[in-house]
Amino acid sequence: MKKSTIFFASILLALSVISCKYDFIIPVEVPVIDNGGNPISFSTQIAPIFSTGNKCTSCHKTGSQAPDLSAASAYAQIMTKYINTATPEQSLIYSFPGSSSHSWKGYTATEAATLLAWIKEGAKNN
């Protein structure tokens, strides 16, 4: 084996053992949503959650995975069966992302709380 190979292999070995820590991640507190007394707007506060940075729309778009959360169709699509106004916490649009069967994307705590508050206010198309 070449000298340089041994040298680099030992660097690799060293790097793998020098950083050992024992930390716990602190869970986030559920944020309180204060919209200044105004109703939460679907078009300006909820719809952007789905499309900013293609967070949801990279898969949930027209012609692809249901529900279609692209700007034009989002409200109509989620009203089909993803909202439960009787028990807001059980709304699929709220509970499914981030669950074990949809582990690849979820909401941040603020986004989830905003969405829940909007559903509780009647899930209006505002």
Binding site: M1, T5, A9, L12, L13, S16, V17, C20
Partner: protein, 140 residues
Amino acid sequence: MKMTLKSLLGSAVVIMTSVVLFSFVAPQDQKAGAAWVVPANYKSMANPQKGKGDPENVGKMLYAKHCKSCHGGTGLGDGAKASSMKTKINSLKEGKFQAQSDGEVYYESFIGRDEMPNFEKKIPAVEDRWALVNYIRTLK
């Protein structure tokens, strides 16, 4: 517990690195290939394009596509895949190789043996094969 985890991780890294390095056969471990046994009909086969060279660069393109990966860009037998072969690949520039008849070169290139693949299906056009033989002659 702490010590065991560290040494386990360390040994895993060392093992993985050595597996990667050992996949290459050292030059001294490669076997020299036995002499080729070329059937009489190939030995005496005439090159229908003798002296015509490789005017459309067909041979050159075919060499780059099919041969370069083992035989190297200039035919020295130093291509990327050469070191993972069990048999040593001799240089195509060698007097011994070039002294063979065109028919023998044709047999060795397209019929092949062992680690040298058969190229009859990959280069089905006879005309293209002789253009490649002509190109191999220029590697001298």
